[in-house]
């Protein structure tokens, strides 16, 4: 198995193309206005157009491609999902939560605007995500739209992302074991990753077998992503990761590295990535980009 230290040129091109397409879609979905409340839209644009790897949109679009789904539809779903991801970052960065002044090297939304605007911009992004999914432009079949809406809500709500954030806050004050950390991460980030891949299958009216393959791929990949995140927290080069080294460890958080050690964590990540790739065998060579992406998650330096 080759061991690329960063994404292959083909994968880089595929990721860059989707990132660029998503930026255009987001810009179109959030046009500025001359109304006095335009400040809200400015903050929503600032929260969603400031870069980022666009991993979730990439997974939506690549999964949808397996079933020949129209690009515009996939990009609408990808944008809705990215809105949910970005709203969670905006609220997470607030003084009452992580109190982060910077996000991707730029002032976080509440620093650029103010706390009230950041709260409202997050609320509006979350709300808009569901509006986008429920509109006929996303898919002509309302069953598909309802299924997307319901799955996104489940993945991001009290039994998904928000529940995981609550656990994360509790975890700052109590020690979690590997099982509890896995559950926390599954809720906090894994379920939205699973939504990304499953959304492609829902849009493409995939068979249950295909849908399950993508769900399992995303499940393992999401966990591998978190394990490598924890490894990068300890071993990453701040010049590449853009994050202070050992931030989570210093904050006293239980991570995969603090509970199982660096070597075990690396083996776990490798095992998960290979397992993720095996789930894609049902698509033969068509899923080569998703397979390459899984290898990138394992080998990434940022």
């Amino acid at each position: 198995m080759p061991s690329p230290r960063e994404a292959s040129p083909e994968l880089q091109t595929a990721m860059a193309e989707i990132a660029s397409g998503i930026n255009t879609t987001i810009g179109t979905l959030l046009p500025e206005t001359s109304e006095p409340e335009n400040r809200l839209i400015e903050a929503m644009r600032y929260a969603t157009l400031g870069g980022g790897k666009r991993i979730r949109p990439f997974l939506v679009c690549e999964s949808a491609k397996l079933f020949g789904v129209d690009h515009l539809r996939a990009k609408r779903v990808a944008a809705a999902l990215e809105f949910v991801h970005c709203y969670s970052l905006v609220h997470d960065d607030l003084p009452a939560m992580d109190n982060a002044d910077l996000r991707r090297g730029m002032p976080s939304v509440h620093k650029k605007y103010d706390d009230a605007t950041a709260i409202l911009a997050g609320d509006a992004l979350l709300t808009y995500a569901f509006e986008i999914l429920a509109e006929p432009e996303t898919h002509e079949d309302p069953h598909v739209r309802c299924e997307l809406t319901s799955l996104l809500a489940k993945s991001s709500g009290l039994n998904g992302m928000v529940g995981g954030q609550m656990l994360d806050l509790i975890g700052e004050k109590s020690k979690f074991d590997v099982g509890q950390i896995s559950r926390l991460q599954r809720m906090k980030t894994g379920m939205l990753m699973s939504f990304a891949c499953e959304a492609g299958a829902i849009l493409g009216k995939a068979s249950e077998q295909q849908r399950k393959a993508l769900r399992n791929y995303a499940f393992d990949l999401g966990l591998a992503f978190q394990v490598t995140d924890d490894i990068l927290d300890v071993e990453g080069d701040p010049a590449e990761t853009g994050k202070e080294q050992g931030k989570d460890t210093k904050a006293g958080k239980s991570t995969f590295v603090t509970t199982m050690g660096s070597e075990q964590a690396k083996m776990r990540a490798e095992m998960l990535v290979h397992q993720a790739i095996r789930h894609l065998h049902v698509f033969d060579s068509r899923a080569s980009t998703l397979k390459a992406f899984a290898m990138y998650v394992l080998e990434r330096r940022k």
Copy 2:
């Protein structure tokens, strides 16, 4: 025209029945668990089960009744709408927003728990509202579910409630005229009131004429409600309203009373309520409870 100073016994019974039914529905939708993140569910229950007039659920259920909609379905939609209303109160009360320590005489959610939990509980309530609407239990026709989801999102998002809250924050620092206040209130509270009435029509697959009648009723009623709120802010008895007298005026907010004076505001409210009632003529005597409710809005003391 009789001038009851409070709701008639029939209206009181109808409102109490719906409020009690909604409490049961909300309790069922938010069961407590033994998971560590149960704190989040506790906060969501605290935010939604602490009383309140349940005006929006009342409007959903009474509108749905006009078309013989199944009660369980109407109550699910009513609960989803109440979740959106309650999440907005939780976020509004935060120190970064209105900084309110009390809500209905009890500690607000961030005082009872903490700011982070209040932010997350609000986020989870908003998300859950859309999950409820998108699920088949709400209606067997996915067109209906998509329409409800889309309309709730539009009414509560950047061009609705959240946009109105942004305007409200801006309004604290600049003077608004009557037109601007009307637009602000329409966005901040009116659109959710309209949703309440229109949701009943959507659930009941009402004709466009019936739907329009309910939308117009709610539009006028919502504005009347805000005008009477502003009058009560100045003239209400704190023992009845549960609010400090002149709170908005002291905060320097532009209200209907500060811009048009108390007498003009009373005439405006009366005009709006009678106009609201006229829209219901299309339903003959079947809409008598909604008509009585409009009169109550005009005459209420709290």
